[in-house]
């Protein structure tokens, strides 16, 4: 704890906002973010707080005379470990097991921590999943290896392109173009039987499945702004993937 002495203490409002920010960036549902923020606020003594969460920003008002605060969320990934960690901190805070200061320190640690699994392990997992998906969707055993390789390459490429190009759409488009080309190359070489199954398996790690489902759930829960904007994001991603693969077909 001694190393943290020079860090200024967080106010209760900032603790709520930090918790909300981490959860929203990690892919939690909108209602869960609002719910957790209000629970934490309640535990910290702010009994009539309001939070308004959209996928791109959080507005939080403590209920007192203080001004409302806003946080802008620019980048969203899926990091379930962080969602679970913030959730358990909120539980402990509500149960009175930790105080505000400890909670703030723990939240800062979570915010700064990186992905628990290394990039290499993630690419391996994506590659193996792609191979399995090719078989699940009706491909033959011959399609396993091509899907494994092009899926792994695709996932590595999307991570790399996200770092190089700041436009998400373009990174996804380029990646699916690459997947289409690699898959076609395998068929051309005589490895693999069905081009469709190989491509479907390989693009699965990129498909916005979580976004689509979260969008519909947000809409059903009455979070109309969040639902529509998540839906738009999912549609854009699906379009990028479809257009990238389709571009390969038009040139062949």
């Amino acid at each position: 704890m001694s190393s943290r002495e020079n860090i200024p203490l967080l106010s209760p409002i900032d603790i709520c906002l930090l918790a909300g920010k981490i959860m929203l960036q990690s892919g939690a549902e909108t209602y869960r973010v609002e719910d957790t923020m209000i629970r934490i606020a309640h535990a910290l003594g702010l009994s009539s707080s309001h939070s308004y969460v959209t996928p791109t920003g959080i507005i939080f008002q403590a209920g007192g005379p203080e001004a409302a605060k806003l946080i802008r969320i620019a980048e969203r990934t899926t990091d379930l470990d962080k969602v679970a960690a913030v959730n358990s901190i909120s539980r402990k805070l509500v149960a009175g097991e930790i105080n505000a200061e400890e909670a703030a320190a723990l939240l800062r640690d979570i915010d700064e921590s990186s992905h628990a699994y290394s990039v290499g392990l993630q690419v391996t997992a994506a590659a193996i999943s792609s191979g399995c998906f090719a078989i699940m969707f009706g491909g033959s055993g011959y399609d396993f290896l091509p899907a494994l390789i092009s899926g792994g390459l695709g996932f590595a490429a999307v991570i790399l392109f996200h770092r190089l190009i700041n436009v998400k759409f373009f990174a996804e488009f380029t990646t699916s173009l690459l997947i289409g080309l690699v898959s076609y190359f395998f068929i051309y070489l005589g490895l693999g039987r069905e081009l469709d199954k190989i491509i479907i398996g390989s693009v699965m790690p990129l498909v916005p499945g979580l976004l689509i489902t979260n969008a519909v759930r947000d809409l059903m829960a009455g979070h109309l702004v969040s639902g529509l904007s998540r839906g738009a994001e999912a549609l854009l991603t699906a379009f990028a993937i479809g257009a990238g693969v389709a571009a390969v077909f038009t040139f062949l």
């Binding site: 939690a28 869960r32 997992a125 059903m220």
Partner: protein, 146 residues
């Protein structure tokens, strides 16, 4: 033999997605199990019933497994449900629809796109129904918003 391969591949694929989504290490097995059971139910029902019905049934099971695991491990439901629904997500259909659009076969494309939309809706319905059931069964807790 076909079914055994489907079981193995769906388990590995769902657990792999758990790693991609950075699920905590001790939940990876449950992620794989949820995905496997959901996929098997989908495969068993699909030849007899409409795809939408089989998807709702499969996601409902994934949802129930996720609710139970969430309660046991004291973690958010989303940690378990996300990887479990991945095999059911209409990624292949969305891809087929997009491909037909590019090939100027608009009739088939719109049909496939509508089907993909319906299936994503039915995934959400399956999850919501399991959540509502959970809330109805456990009344002693304060009802949850959303």
């Amino acid at each position: 033999m076909y079914m055994i391969w489907q079981l193995i591949t769906s388990f590995i694929a769902s657990a792999g997605f758990g790693i991609i989504f950075n699920a905590p290490k001790r939940t990876l097995f449950q992620c794989g199990l949820g995905g496997m059971l959901g996929w098997v139910i989908y495969l068993v029902l699909d030849p007899y019933y409409d795809t939408v019905i089989s998807t709702v049934a499969a996601t409902f099971v994934v949802g129930v497994i996720s609710q139970v695991s969430a309660r046991i491990y004291r973690m958010p439901v989303i940690v378990f449900s996300v990887a479990g629904i991945i095999p059911l997500v209409p990624g292949g259909l969305a891809y087929d629809a997009m491909r037909k659009f590019v090939e100027n076969d608009y009739n088939t494309a719109v049909q496939l796109a509508a089907q993909a939309f319906l299936i994503s809706g039915s995934i959400a319905i399956g999850l919501v129904v399991s959540e509502v059931l959970n809330q109805l069964l456990i009344r002693k807790r304060k009802p949850h918003r959303g």
